[in-house]
């Protein structure tokens, strides 16, 4: 089983050095420590294991080192920054592995930008050697790229000419969308295996600054000082230690404290059950910081993230996530309002960021998501996001049941209208209504109000409201129907329906780029015995089917 939590004492591929408000991450990939057997991680090339460590490192810096404003990513290997994703690993991996690998690495890259855009850490890539493919894509995800001008170090995206695939971790998109590289120059750059160095790299906007080896460290220092001045919310002192998750993995499911799951392999359904916050979580930000990763919002984000990652990677045949919850609606609303009212506190800001990125992982999961609101549920505030990231919601309608049963209820919070944006830059509510402003203004008036099924349905917040007698059967039928459809068609359908409206760099990466890449990954020109990806390194030329499709 692939797991995603790491112990800092056991990092194999990175070392971290922290000085004042700077953290330097040195990449030094251990060749023999691939996460799966069968390939050597030469030339600082990476696989999923390297990226899992990177994700863990950055996450820990966010919480444990609240004084760090800038992260510098560089290499410990002589004249070699990174050769990118390991080609032999890609060549031998099954399709699902490649797709999951790309998704996770993309999410990690995006998280750099997410931090940078939300008052948290900024990132600088100090490219001190050859930087190719996925290596350059790590750099592209940083705020600034510094390239050593030693007459040999280049940046390059050699995937097309060498491997017959695309740079799949956002490279193509970030060149033109983020760095404004002209498209014709990008065309030359992406078809040139040798890469571009020095001044020309700056002129083409491929990097921001260059310096000869003797001045390179100075350049880094200068840029760190400059960049750190623009960081707003990294003013903590004590930090919050991210302790080991309290997790029990069994055949039936994976259980944490605030998140439980049941995996029904037979029916191919995983139930994610959230236990809402108790009232001991209704405390000041300072008290919350002391409580640390025991504070419900952070605990929930960590546990949900871990669960999503484990399910996505290890339970490939589970096609539907049902999301349920139990708890006190007032508590979750109040906890949400603590976040809302203290957004300028570094810890709160990081917690919101963690929640934002975790919920995004759900939006980007290629699983059907049905959120189910029954008598015990507490889908309000933060947890209301789970209503809107779902493909469908089912809410129990008790209006015909005995008079003694009230509820269940849902409520909106301010936080549902800002701060928990999806990768399209819009909140889930805005996305749900394709950014219809009058509709959103109407919904704002309902903030903190309790809505039962009929009310929530009339406000267009819920998909189906079966009554108490239909409830079980309605859900059973929907789930059975869902799991009978083609998994591929559902993945395509959901990925399209979940993101109406405008595009962003990220939606293009997860939509356009990934879809094309996944297509290419399935094509003989890349993966047949005579395909470019398979033949890389053998000296034999790939044989292409030359029909353009």
């Amino acid at each position: 089983m692939i797991t995603f939590d790491r112990d800092p004492d056991s990092y194999k591929h990175w070392t971290v050095e922290i000085t004042n408000d700077k953290a330097t991450l040195y990449l030094d990939v251990s060749e023999k420590d691939g996460i799966r057997p069968g390939y050597d991680l030469k030339l600082n090339s990476y696989d999923l294991g390297v990226d899992i460590e990177l994700n863990d490192i950055v996450q820990r810096i966010r919480f444990e080192q609240p004084q760090v404003k800038v992260v510098v990513i560089t290499s410990k290997q002589e004249k070699n920054f990174s050769a990118g994703a390991n080609i032999y690993m890609l060549g031998m991996s099954e399709h699902t592995w490649k797709v999951n690998f790309c998704k996770f690495t993309n999410e990690t890259r995006n998280s750099f930008e997410d931090s940078s855009n939300s008052g948290s850490i900024k990132f600088i890539a100090a490219v001190n050697g050859i930087c190719a493919g996925g290596g350059y894509e790590i750099a592209l995800a940083c705020d600034e790229i510094l390239l050593i001008d030693d007459r040999s170090s280049t940046v390059s995206l050699p995937e097309v000419p060498l491997l017959g695939v695309l740079p799949g971790t956002g490279g193509v998109t970030r060149l033109i969308d983020k760095r404004n590289v002209r498209k014709d120059l990008a065309d030359i750059f992406c078809t040139n295996a040798d890469g571009i160095r020095g001044k020309k790299a700056v002129e083409w906007k491929l990097v921001d600054y260059i310096a000869p080896p003797s001045r390179f460290d100075n350049l880094i220092e200068e840029r760190v000082i400059e960049v750190s001045n623009s960081v707003k919310l990294r003013n903590g002192t004590n930090g919050v230690k991210l302790h080991k998750l309290n997790r029990i993995i069994s055949d039936e499911g994976i259980n944490y404290e605030s998140v439980l799951s049941k995996i029904d392999k037979e029916r191919r359904i995983a139930n994610i059950h959230i236990i809402g916050p108790g009232d001991n979580n209704l405390i000041t930000p300072n008290e919350a910081e002391k409580l640390g990763c025991e504070w419900w919002p952070l605990k929930f984000a960590r546990e949900l993230e871990d669960l999503i990652l484990l399910l996505r990677t290890n339970e490939l045949e589970v096609g539907v996530f049902t999301i349920t919850s139990e708890g006190d609606t007032d508590n979750i609303l109040n906890v949400t309002n603590i976040l809302e009212n203290n957004k300028n506190n570094w810890f709160i800001n990081e917690t919101i960021g963690f929640l934002r990125r975790t919920l995004s992982r759900l939006d980007l999961s290629s699983r059907s998501i049905f959120t189910i609101i029954d008598n015990k549920s507490c889908f309000s505030g933060i947890l209301a996001e789970l209503l809107f990231c779902a493909d469908r919601t089912y809410m129990l309608n008790n209006s015909l049941a005995a008079d003694t049963i009230k509820g269940p209820y849902i409520s909106l919070s301010d936080l549902n209208f800002a701060s928990l944006e999806m990768v399209n830059g819009l909140t889930r509510l805005a996305t749900r209504f394709n950014n219809n402003k009058p509709k959103l203004n109407t919904l704002r008036k309902l903030i903190n109000k309790k809505m039962n099924a009929e009310k929530a349905y009339n406000e267009e917040l819920i998909t189906v409201i079966p009554d108490d007698l239909d409830w079980k059967e309605e859900i059973r039928l929907s789930l059975e129907e869902r799991t009978s459809f083609s998994p591929d068609a559902l993945t395509g359908l959901e990925a399209n329906l979940r993101f109406p409206g405008k595009e962003t760099c990220e939606t293009k990466i997860f939509g356009r780029l990934s879809a094309w890449q996944n297509w290419i990954f399935n094509r003989p020109n890349a993966v047949s015995e005579e395909g470019a990806l398979k033949l890389f390194g053998t000296g034999t030329r790939a044989k292409f089917d030359n029909k353009r499709v």
Partner: protein, 476 residues
């Protein structure tokens, strides 16, 4: 909410008194059904006492309990044939698996569609026939009409039961839709074309119950094979009643022929004018009505080559009528050869996968079944000394659905030009003149023991009662 006594009000064997979900659904639907019946049911007889058969249980005694009742107070019930324990799927891809007591989610929409399509025909025929009471040839026939009507109503209930009990909210919406669509309504018609034509004369009514209700029989027989057990058991029980409707059709046509032959013998003439002047229907016109109703009923079986029928068979949703008579119940790799249509509109032998031919296979069984009545009628004619022989037209004749749609052929099935078809159509199908003539015969007869002149009295009464019994007590 007032508690209904369910067992009393709605005879059933589905434990309605303990099924809250079903009760709640029916409490919404039943008033709508009642008002539908009042508005769209038999016109002018809602306060009459009618001698009707009511099903009160599924056993031999219970399925036919007789008594006089006002139609709006008829006790429409819900009955399924008894459960066979350990019943297994016996055709398609999942042979040997246990049958389904619940709707599998994967087949939810397709099963719902099958049930809705079947269900839609039941109230449709009541609507089509609502004017017929005004021209009934006798009280006996009037009673038979109403018996057919209330049982079609019960068949609607049976389908609504399945929708309510197994399809949740969607099912309830569809159940209401069954009452909202109306036969012949331009904006909201019944699903199948044939069910939108009003039936305004009794010759058509008898033809309908002989030919179109027989399509119903074959559809029910296919559904009675279904792996969705509640559907299978519901349809099995409906078949008993459906058989009686066809009986109404067959004896009706027989009596009409008898009367015509009687008149022909008295006149000692087979001149059509003479026969018509004597107030009975000439055999040639009857043949044209047979041509019309047989051919429109054929369309109800669907296209000769059908992917839907293949899906329904492979998944075990809808079998062949009397599936156990066939040797191979999977038919996965078998093929079916029939005379099809070439690109040049000529006949050509065509071979298709067997599963795609299920509609055609069912249609053929139907045709064979239809022929039985014709044999009996031809015997009557022969015995009376005439050499006219009734025949069924070719299955290619006058089709609107399937590979023969839009192809002009004569009743023998030979492909002809449109011009030829148009010039001869009046000798093959009822003309305006035929319809006018039939209409002129339709006079209401409601005196006890009297029968209209164009049809012979029945040979025996209902439930061993005499023919002259007052089967319907009219109250104005």
């Amino acid at each position: 909410m007032t508690k209904l006594n369910y067992k009393e009000k709605i005879p059933n064997n589905v434990d309605l008194s303990n099924d809250l979900s079903l009760q709640r659904a029916l409490e919404h639907w039943q008033p709508k059904f009642k008002s539908w019946w009042t508005e769209m049911g038999p016109e002018g007889f809602q306060t009459s006492d009618v001698y009707l058969r009511t099903a009160t249980s599924v056993d031999a005694d219970g399925w036919a309990t007789y008594g006089k009742v006002k139609m709006p107070e008829y006790r429409w019930g819900i009955f399924l044939n008894d459960k066979v324990s350990d019943r297994k799927i016996h055709f398609g891809d999942n042979i040997g698996d246990p049958v389904w007591q619940q709707v599998p989610g994967d087949y939810r929409s397709i099963l719902r569609k099958l049930i809705v399509t079947q269900g839609d025909t039941e109230p449709a025929s009541v609507e089509q026939q609502r004017e017929l009471g005004k021209t009934c040839p006798s009280l006996y026939d009037l009673r038979n009409l109403f018996q057919v009507n209330v049982e079609e109503g019960r068949h609607l209930w049976a389908m609504v039961y399945l929708l309510h009990a197994y399809f949740g909210r969607d099912g309830r919406e569809e159940a209401e839709g069954l009452l909202e669509r109306n036969s012949g309504d331009i904006d909201n018609p019944r699903i199948l074309g044939t069910f939108n034509e009003p039936i305004t004369d009794w010759v058509s009514f008898f033809m309908f119950t002989y030919f179109t209700d027989r399509d119903g029989k074959y559809q029910l027989k296919s559904l009675a094979e279904s792996s969705f057990d509640p559907l299978a058991r519901t349809c099995q029980f409906m078949l008993t009643e459906e058989a009686h409707h066809m009986q109404v059709g067959e004896t009706g046509i027989t009596r009409m022929i008898q009367k015509t032959l009687e008149v022909m013998n008295a006149l000692k003439s087979d001149s059509i004018d003479a026969i018509r002047n004597a107030g009975v229907v000439d055999l040639q016109t009857i043949q044209r009505y047979i041509n019309f109703w047989f051919s429109s009923s054929l369309d109800l079986f669907g296209s000769e080559i059908s992917s839907n029928s293949a899906t329904a068979f492979a998944n075990g949703l809808k079998g062949r009528p009397d599936e156990m008579r066939y040797k191979d119940h999977s038919e996965k790799n078998n093929s079916f050869t029939f005379e099809g249509l070439s690109l040049e509109n000529t006949l050509v032998e065509q071979t298709i996968p067997m599963r795609n031919a299920m509609n055609e296979i069912t249609r053929r069984s139907y045709v064979t079944d239809c022929e039985i009545g014709l044999k009996r009628w031809n015997r009557l004619i022969k015995k009376a000394g005439y050499d006219i022989i009734f025949t069924l037209p070719s299955t290619r004749f006058r089709r609107n659905i399937g590979i023969w749609a839009g192809i002009d052929s004569n009743p023998e099935g030979i492909i002809i030009t449109k011009n030829e078809f148009d010039s001869k159509v009046n000798s093959w199908l009822p003309s305006e003149g035929d319809k006018e003539f039939i209409k002129s015969l339709m006079v209401q007869v409601t005196k006890v023991n009297k029968t209209a002149g164009w049809i012979a009295p029945p040979s025996r009464g209902i439930n061993s009662l005499e023919i002259g019994y007052e089967y319907v007590e009219l109250r104005q």
